[in-house]
Point group: C2
Chain length 155, copies 2
């Protein structure tokens, strides 16, 4: 679980890379990105319960597993699931605002912010997972989710 | 990205651990486990396209990101999403067979098989990601998915 500039660069390039799969249809793109975010959200919830709310006992192995999962989502090349025609102006089953396609620089910025914050959480968890440090970086990851939602997700 | 007996043991214990979150309701458990599997399946698809079918160029960074994602799902403590009352005898929106709850040893066995196969795929990808080795281990992970589906997922 060593981290280096190389791994961070790798992770960032994966986060904003061009599609890595054969073209998926619109419905599959929407359902798969919702699944990825639901899975990330579940893992955020585990860290929240253990490191913030304290209603579940703090367990470093589980924190690391959750941090690995969130980072894996952030580095999975989600961009491939935001293809043309997948916003809510053309589909009922999504909350993606059509503005997403008018603001590629902003989209790139929030995606990179998510990857950076998640990689740092993973790094802290891999290096012993001090509870206060995890709690602080959890909050940064949460901000990176919110940065994207505020911009691109309908309420 | 070193792997050792310790990490494998850690991963396995996470895979079969007791719930790590405050109790989720039945609907959330079902939707979250479906999301986790959908996300794993998407990442399996990327590896298939690059290492087996060859319809997308082979990219070691993307293979590693996908392998990390599959391992993250396998090690995320999915057991917490298979609580009592979440099978298809009591819910419309799931394919989980009720037999799941009568066969805890089998459930444990397939969960461990999934974690072991996924951790090995991640290890191969982290150590250079030779295409033939990735293809061979991808097939083992696929068998671990199928082992569970044959037993516990309705057609
Ligand atoms: C790059 C932008 C972006 C980032 C970063 C992001 N989200 Fe989202 N999220 C979205 C969009 C867009 C949607 C709506 C997707 C849709 O309906 O197609 C969404 C939807 C969701 C959903 C609902 C999924 C569903 O089933 O409909 C959850 C939960 C969620 N996000 C949680 C998170 C969490 C937790 C994080 C950070 C750990 C995060 N998101 C980071 C853009 C983002
Ligand atoms: C521990 C058992 C188990 C393992 C291991 C497993 N699955 Fe599944 N899978 C299930 C069950 C049970 C369901 C049905 C879930 C439900 O409907 O509640 C399912 C559902 C799915 C679905 C449909 C999800 C949806 O949206 O309804 C996909 C796709 C899938 N699995 C892919 C995979 C892949 C790919 C792997 C391996 C990388 C895998 N599964 C490993 C048990 C397993």
């Amino acid at each position: 679980m060593r981290k280096s500039g190389f791994f961070v660069a790798l992770a960032l390039s994966a986060a904003v890379a061009t599609p890595v799969v054969a073209q998926m249809d619109v419905k599959d793109q929407i359902e798969t990105r919702q699944s990825a975010f639901t899975f990330a959200g579940w893992n955020m919830g585990k860290i929240k319960a253990q490191a913030i709310d304290g209603d579940v006992a703090y367990n470093e192995q589980q924190i690391l597993a959750a941090a690995n999962a969130i980072a894996a989502v952030a580095n999975s090349g989600l961009g491939a699931l935001f293809g043309p025609g997948t916003a809510m102006d053309k589909n009922d089953n999504t909350d993606l605002k059509p503005e997403f396609f008018d603001k590629p620089d902003k989209a790139r910025e929030v995606a990179i912010g998510f990857a950076q914050a998640s990689n740092k959480l993973q790094e802290i968890a891999a290096n012993g997972g001090d509870k206060a440090a995890i709690a602080a970086q959890f909050s940064e990851v949460g901000k990176s989710c919110k940065a994207c939602h505020d911009e691109f997700r309908a309420e």
